[in-house]
Amino acid sequence: MTRFSAWSVFRNGLKGQRDWDRQWRDPEPRHEYDIVIVGGGLHGLATAYYLAKNHGLKNIAVVEKGWLGGGNGGRNTTIVRSNYFMPGNRQFYEHSLELWEDLSHELNYNVMFSQRSHISLLHSPAAMDAAARRYNTMRLTGSDGEIWDLNTLKANVPHLNYSADARFPIIGAAVQKRAGTARHDAVAWGYARAADSLGVDILQNCEVTGTTREDGRITALETSRGTIRAKKVGFAVAGNTTRLWQMAGFSTLPIESHKLQAFVSEPLKPLLDQVVVFGVGGAHFYISQSDKGGMVFGGDIDWYKSYAQRGNLPIVQDVAECAVSILPCLGRVRLLRHWSGVMDMSMDGSPFICKTPLSNLYLNAGWNYGGFKASPASGWYFADLIANDRPHQHIEHFTLDRFDRGINIDERGAGPDPKLHG
């Protein structure tokens, strides 16, 4: 594999780009693997990479029904942050952020992680106190976090709606400076290339159509590219979790599939240098500007369960109202595209990285719409779980039985209604 560097770019420039290799192979499926990860998205690819890298495992395949990174990894608003405060979530997301900080070097692939600050606007003293609890917890657990007053905010983010006539005047902000955005596709490609170079077989256009089970174990996966036997199997198929789960012989999960829309504007010269989040009066909105110049933004899910990757107008309108309310200069900026993805919405907004009733089947699911930022740690801990067959303490709450036990890791406090989390 050619190591990527300014030098290799220069050398290939002189040679008409002839020397670049495939970034990952396109192997034929083998009959059997030690570990098969179902789902060639960010979480699945990261899992395969860390299985090979951290645990020295060799005989691994990732099976993907379409093209790698083609799920929510390729259709999100690319925000990376660790401002979670519930026990379990806190350590997990902090570890993820730490992995992000060195990810480009680790993978030798520029994932363009831009630690440009994540700014949650505050509009009332009560909101400021609630934010302080969250950001104090972050600080006390080794992360960064700040509360900005209005003047600091104005100096850093000049074009927000600071008018006293605003429906919800801004009084300050909660800020995580180490947070930011990354180039989402590059993360998938970087993990794929790095995993591939460690010998992982990435099998695209390989859809799982069934499972074979014996004695409480999965022994083989039926796929569109033939039967693949496996000693251990991990599912990481956001949006398709229930379907796979049912193929594995189970029925229900604490998950519903909902769709989330995302939006990008025409490309503009730099207008907004940070990620800004606006949430008050029932509104929810987040925006940043991509390196190409498009304003990338989003809001709530479409409120009704759906497997269709198509959004509807009411949310488009809600999101536009938020956009113009918080950045009044966006009124004349034009929306270029909006699209949607299917989210695994869980009953408490937190994920699952856990063992299952089948002794060699592991589940990674329920990321709601926060899965992008989690992908490095998700892969790291899922690999750890699969390799060691026991959960690391940081993911001990990410189990399916937490609801029966009464463990509460609901960051929003919204209760057991999947559409209310995010």
């Binding site: 229930t242 379907r243 029925s251 229900t252 999960l253 604490p254 998950i255 519903e256 599939s257 409120w303 009704y304 369960k305 759906s306 497997y307 269709a308 509807n312 107008l313 009411p314 009953m347 609801f403 029966d404 057991p416 209604d417 999947p418 559409k419």
Partner: protein, 94 residues
């Protein structure tokens, strides 16, 4: 925009309604054991295809409705009042 044919008000945009959830869940009696409650509250079949779900015409007649809708296409097959008694009164009236 999904258009829901409210049996009380007629066809309206889904933005007048609020989505409840899986309408096929039968909640156990209040004194049922925790396991039964846990299954009803937390576990979902998460159907990919035609499912029965609840919607409330919250900005209309405020009636809860049971809607059969395809979660792949959003196509609606049927809409009826969730409350049988109210549904029957409606039928008689028509």
């Amino acid at each position: 925009m999904i258009r829901i044919n409210c049996p009380f008000c007629g066809e309206r945009d889904h933005s007048e309604f609020s989505y409840g959830g899986d309408g096929s869940i039968v909640y156990p009696s209040l004194d049922a054991p925790a396991e039964e409650w846990s299954a009803a509250v937390f576990q979902r079949e998460n159907i990919r295809g035609m499912q029965t779900e609840s919607w409330q015409h919250v900005n209309g007649c405020r009636q809860w409705l049971l809607v059969e809708r395809d979660t792949m296409t959003h196509e609606i097959q049927s809409v009826r009042a969730a409350h049988d008694g109210v549904g029957k009164v409606l039928e008689k009236g028509q």
